[in-house]
């Protein structure tokens, strides 16, 4: 399985991880070696096999729609890299009008 620079750029953007171009050759090689390991799954006949999402085939239990967690905004925001007036701060997302 060959990974092209363009593929790696696209995957890295989907994963939102910036990757320095210097690492491309070694990283492509590592990822190819993992995909090479993985390709063995193609040899299995799974024609009539259902996918197994849960190791014990159990389903998600449902609970009553009740509020169980307290409002702990201040406590939780102590770990925030940047916050103000109870809000998380991020770079501006609205484009300048001109």
């Amino acid at each position: 399985m060959l990974i092209k620079d363009r593929d790696l750029e696209q995957i890295a953007y989907l994963a939102r991880i910036n990757i320095d171009k210097d690492y491309f050759p070694s990283l492509k090689q590592e990822l190819e070696s993992i995909l090479d390991l993985v390709k063995k799954i193609n040899s299995a006949d799974t024609e009539s096999v259902k996918p197994m999402f849960h190791p014990l085939d159990l389903f998600q239990p449902l609970r009553k729609d009740e509020v169980t967690e307290k409002d702990e905004r201040e406590k939780l925001q102590k770990n925030a890299p940047l916050s103000q007036a109870g809000l998380f701060l991020v770079p501006k997302v609205i484009e300048d009008q001109g």
Binding site: D20, L27, P55, L56, N79, F88
Partner: protein, 485 residues
């Protein structure tokens, strides 16, 4: 007279009850050893000295009042993947190197309620991704049996600290072998229970359909004490099993005569090193002497395990780790110019190389056009593997194999070749894929380094695993030795 750290948990509890020593004395003896030995091993990320003393004193008061809790005064350590309120919970990553957890995981709470004293949080591979503890942001852990070698991973810190007598036992997690492989490499007992037996609430997620908490201890009996304390249904984890937890401690003495132990021929046709084969055949003699029956079984799809795992685990990890975005908690890059730049540089700088590789592989396997070929196909193969176990357990009670392909290896030996490293888990991954419980116990030594064997059973039969391991340990000495430090 053995030193305090060398006593089993049962002996420690008896000593505390008889006032042979106090919980504070026991705790101080561990803190002293940590100060002396851990700077070299690096098994702890955080030691919570003062808090441990406070808890030990509370425990002593309960003994004086004659109403001790089940694990009162037993000093343990938690893998740094279990959220602990008010304490750094780093998961071995730069991404969480400043994360003081605002709440405690169910596992941490259950140990608090059992009266145990927490000495600190142990080192680990970053986000539990690794088999050598070399991917930790906090530096590698060394194997107490040979400080040029790795302790295994991802629970390498927990394994090294228990093996060196720096805690009476430690919590750990296992997604593809992260409890059992370090147990084998450090000469310990390590049990990964059935998927859903131990709550995952507050346990930092790596691959949610595979992750399971468990323990690392010197003996199977110690493991029974700790596993009992941490197991049970938790409404806060939707995958937690609502079934009763047996009394592992009492059931451990029940006979194992007549149990049928299966040897998968696929594992034993792998060209194992001679010393590994010998340790297994010696162990089989012990099991035969104990009245068990040994027979060959077939697990025809076993060779799919590693490939299936390296689709499913990265896929789930890429989804789980999307939460680390530099906004609500954890690391954040400096001077982001826009939102995408904030995400992309935060994750570039906050994650190490192995985590990035797995997130990228997972993203690829889940991306449009590849989902069916990789992820869905792997999930179908997963059912084939689970089906193999269902069939095998029709004719045997337990399945035995080596835990790891060989003894521990030198620091740096495999870190530049991810796929070589992944092969460390070739024997342990199948149990995670099928959700089955499995235990590793010491069964030999080669070049002064421990070897381990693994037993797997049907779901929810942890008691049978502990019992079989315990009877083996009553008839062998591998678990008794301590590294000289």
């Amino acid at each position: 007279m053995p030193e305090l750290y060398q006593l089993t948990i049962k002996e420690k509890l008896e000593g505390l009850k008889n006032s042979s020593f106090s919980s504070l004395e026991l705790t101080e003896s561990y803190l002293e050893r940590i100060k002396r030995i851990d700077p070299e091993l690096n098994s702890y990320i955080t030691v919570i000295e003062e808090e441990a003393r406070v808890k030990a004193k509370e425990s002593d008061q309960r003994y004086q009042a004659g109403s001790p809790l089940p694990l009162d005064g037993i000093p343990i350590a938690h893998k740094d993947i279990f959220c602990t309120e008010g304490v750094l919970t780093s998961c071995g990553s730069k991404m969480l190197a400043n994360f003081i957890s605002p709440y405690s995981s169910t596992v941490v709470k259950k140990y608090e309620e059992s009266g145990s004293v927490v000495l600190g949080k142990t080192n680990m591979d970053e986000f539990a991704m690794g088999s050598s503890n070399e991917t930790s942001y906090f530096g590698p852990v060394k194997n107490p049996w040979n400080n040029k070698c790795v302790p295994g991973g991802s629970s390498g810190g927990s394994a090294a600290c228990v093996s060196a007598g720096l805690a009476a036992g430690a919590t750990a997690t296992d997604t593809g072998g992260s409890i059992r492989q370090p147990a084998a490499l450090c000469g310990l007992t390590g049990i990964k229970p059935t998927y859903g037996r131990v709550s995952r609430y507050g346990m930092v997620a790596f691959a949610s359909s595979l992750d399971q908490g468990g323990v690392l201890t010197k003996t199977a009996e110690d493991a029974a004490y700790l596993l009992k304390a941490m197991s049970g249904h938790d409404p806060k984890d939707s995958t937690s099993l609502n079934v009763e937890v047996p009394d592992y401690i009492n059931e451990i003495n029940q006979d194992i005569k007549g149990l049928r132990i299966g040897l998968p021929k696929e594992f034993f046709s792998m060209n194992l090193p001679q010393h590994v084969e010998k340790s297994i055949s010696d162990a089989l003699k012990v099991f035969e002497k104990l009245g068990t029956k040994i027979k060959e079984v077939e697990l025809p799809h076993l060779d799919l395990s590693l490939p299936v795992y390296y689709v499913i685990a990265p896929a789930e990890c890429s989804a789980n780790l999307s939460r680390y975005d530099g906004v609500k908690f954890g690391y954040r890059c400096e001077n982001p110019k826009d939102l995408d730049d904030l995400y992309m540089r935060t994750r570039e700088e906050g994650f190490g190389p192995e985590v990035k590789r797995r997130v990228l592989i997972g993203t690829y396997a889940l991306s449009a056009g590849y989902y069916d070929a990789y992820y869905l196909k792997a999930l179908k193969c997963r059912r084939l593997i689970a089906g193999d176990f269902d069939n095998a357990f029709k004719s045997v009670d337990l399945i035995l194999s080596p835990t790891a392909p060989d003894i521990s290896f030198a620091l740096g030996e495999k870190s530049s070749n991810p796929v070589e490293m992944y092969k460390q888990d070739i024997f342990t991954i199948p149990a995670n894929l099928a959700g089955l419980p499995a235990i590793s116990i010491p069964c030999g030594k080669h070049k002064g380094l421990p070897l381990g064997l693994q037993l797997m059973s049907k779901s929810l039969e942890e008691s049978k695993l502990l019992r079989t391991a315990h009877h083996f340990q009553l008839n062998s000495d591998w678990h008794k030795s301590w590294p000289s430090l």
